[in-house]
């Protein structure tokens, strides 16, 4: 396993009230090149898990093992390697890109920080290359984020994460802020990248339909606990837990016949 999360617990202090425990013995693992979906409603702990995965927060107990290293204990060169190999894409492409940096600076920043390319010319080449990979025009590298649409900004954010060759990409609601017609472009891009680069993806989302299209295996969370986990087909076709069933049943389907039938059924029940 590339990444193993083993019974992590995490609480946030809420003085003067007692601390609130937001993760209860959460465990899952990720194989190289696998796309794993973490789904749950607000308050399920998905974003806290992302913080722990990125070593931005440390769980109180339990461990996160990445490629043999204990993430919360890693320091120095080891931590630096972790920071290079595990990258993140955030929800809001309007808030996550520094408006005063050009696209070249934004995408090239990781190369500079990790000293991967010593010369500016080589850095520029790498930036151009990754821009082509994610479907951006390299001529646009002199421009600033404000002149890009939401979908293109999310491509910039993805390029920025991928340019230093990570092995895991943690995406926290990466398409939730995008329009429907653009959302599909970004989902398809993530899927292409996963296949082409052998990238493992942790995809955090509340939208189960989106997760179904991207993830090989799914972890369903509710109030900080893993309710059910398994391969895509099991979760979507044969959910065992009542919570998962309820969650799936509530997702609207873009088909009036199905939507109506569902509502009629509920009216009979209530």
């Amino acid at each position: 396993m590339l990444l193993t999360v083993d019974r992590i617990n995490k609480s946030y202090s809420s003085f003067p009230n007692p601390p609130v425990q937001v993760l209860h013995d959460v465990s899952f693992s990720l194989a190289p090149g696998q796309a794993l979906g973490l789904v749950g409603e607000s308050g399920s702990g998905k974003s806290t898990i992302a913080k722990c995965l990125m070593a931005l927060a440390a769980p109180e107990s339990g461990s996160i093992l990445y490629d043999g290293m204990d993430v919360s204990k890693a320091r120095g060169a080891e931590l630096l390697r972790f920071r290079r190999e595990v990258q993140m894409v955030f929800q809001d492409p309007y808030g996550s890109l520094n408006p005063r940096m050009s696209v070249e600076e934004l995408i090239g920043e990781g190369l500079l920080v990790h000293k991967l390319e010593p010369t500016a010319a080589r850095r520029r080449e790498r930036v151009a290359e990754i821009m082509r990979t994610v479907g951006l025009n390299p001529d646009d590298m002199v421009r600033f984020p404000r002149s890009f649409s939401g979908g293109q900004r999310q491509r910039i954010a993805i390029a920025r994460a991928l340019v230093i060759g990570p092995r895991i990409l943690v995406c926290d609601e990466p398409v939730a802020a995008l329009d429907v017609s653009v959302q599909a472009q970004v989902i398809n891009l993530l899927r292409d990248m996963q296949r082409k680069l052998g990238l493992a993806i942790v995809f955090i989302a509340h939208d189960l339909a989106v997760v179904r299209h991207l993830c090989d295996s799914i972890v369903v969370l509710h109030k900080g606990r893993v309710v059910e986990a398994g391969p895509r087909a099991d979760i979507f076709e044969r959910p065992r837990e009542a919570y998962t069933q309820a969650l799936l049943a509530a997702v609207p389907v873009p088909d009036p016949e199905i939507g109506r039938a569902r509502r009629e059924r509920r009216h009979v029940l209530t």
């Binding site: 409603e41 607000s42 649409s149 939401g150 979908g151 293109q152 329009d179 429907v180 017609s181 653009v182 959302q183 599909a184 472009q185 989902i187 398809n188 899927r191 509340h206 939208d207 189960l208 339909a209 989106v210 179904r212 299209h213 895509r232 979507f236 309820a246 969650l247 799936l248 049943a249 509530a250 997702v251 609207p252 389907v253 873009p254 088909d255 009036p256 016949e257 199905i258 939507g259 109506r260 569902r262 509502r263 509920r266």
Partner: protein, 328 residues
């Protein structure tokens, strides 16, 4: 199911345009461009579009909520043109004839006012006595499934969950017994299970009260489950308007078709999601001709030169040259 549908419409919008003034006093920016639509008594209509399509601006125009917006055209509501009313007359319509709910209930509710007072406020403003207003507030909260409503009249918004807050906001809108409810993405901020409950609730209320609903959303799944008719907006114009079954089964406009195909579905596995290339144009950079033409795989010369008119096509209204080949 709704025999009243053949009656004359409750709201009839003709040639509505909305211009927003730009900094520097130049000509305004046209956000909504010459749209027509109508809503019958008790009808549930969805207005779908992506961000910047003008759907919210259209909704707010019906309520005349943006004081700086320049509105032109006609909005007939029960025989009176709302655009000719004075602000004072308009105030009489808001809340009692037309009410609106928004996406984020927390920014809509006053954190320092009790739920009971907020729901009753609409009535109090109309000069209804304290006791009577409270009684009606209670009955609306009950109708909307707020548990132990009587005890909770004295609660504050922060004591409520997201779904309950949205019920309170709905109660505020419905207490004045409006004939039209404009709901601007009312379930977008909610978790799916709560969204489902709120939609059921809206469905019940609308049926029971004969309340017309203009439901603004970007979520086609929600449209399919809730609306009887759907209007699709793109770049400030209505490009398709028809019965929800017909539109989903056989969308006439290439944009509608693309949008429906682009939605990932919970009940299907697809190898590759369909994506519409490009992005919607900004209002200041609309292309010549049909605003969708740069993203449209069916576009031909005429699409790049001439704005398509909204024409009747087999019981629907569609703005697309493909359906008007003989045309002009």
């Amino acid at each position: 199911m709704f025999p009243s549908k053949t009656q004359k419409p409750l709201v009839e919008v003709r040639g509505l345009s909305v211009d927003m003034p730009l900094a520097g006093g130049k000509d305004g920016l046209r956000i909504v461009d010459n749209i027509d639509f109508s809503i019958a008594v008790g009808e549930r209509v969805a207005l779908v579009g992506e961000s910047g399509s003008g759907k919210s601006v259209t909704a707010r125009a019906v309520m005349r909520l943006d004081p700086v917006a320049r509105l032109s055209g006609k909005i007939d509501f029960e025989g009176r043109d709302l655009l000719t009313l004075s602000e004072k007359e308009m105030r009489h319509y808001r809340g009692s004839s037309i009410a609106m709910v928004f996406q984020d209930p927390m920014s809509f509710l006053d954190p320092l006012m009790t739920i009971g007072d907020q729901v009753a406020e609409t009535l109090r403003i109309r000069g209804i006595g304290r006791v009577e207003a409270r009684k009606r507030a209670l009955s609306v909260l009950d109708e909307l499934g707020v548990d132990r409503a009587a005890e909770r009249l004295g609660s504050y918004p922060h004591e409520f969950s997201g779904g309950m807050r949205q019920r309170v906001v709905l109660a505020m809108a419905l207490v004045g017994e409006p004939k039209l409810l404009i709901a601007d993405e009312p379930t977008t901020a909610l978790d799916v299970r709560v969204q489902d409950q709120v939609l059921d609730l809206l469905d019940d209320v609308s049926t029971r009260r004969g309340l017309a609903v203009l439901f603004i959303t970007h979520d086609l799944g929600v449209v399919a489950g809730f609306a009887e008719r759907v209007m699709v907006m793109y770049s400030g114009r209505i490009v398709e308007d028809g019965d929800v079954h017909a539109v989903f089964k056989d969308p006439k406009h290439p944009y509608t078709r693309g949008l429906i195909r682009a939605v990932p579905r919970i009940d299907q596995d697809l190898e590759e999601l369909y994506a519409i290339p490009g992005a919607p144009p900004a209002p200041m950079a609309r292309p010549a001709g049909c605003p969708f033409n740069p993203r449209c795989s069916d576009a031909f010369d005429r699409c790049r030169a001439e704005l398509p008119a909204v024409l009747p096509v087999t019981g629907e209204r569609v703005a697309c040259h493909l359906h008007d080949r003989k045309g002009a």
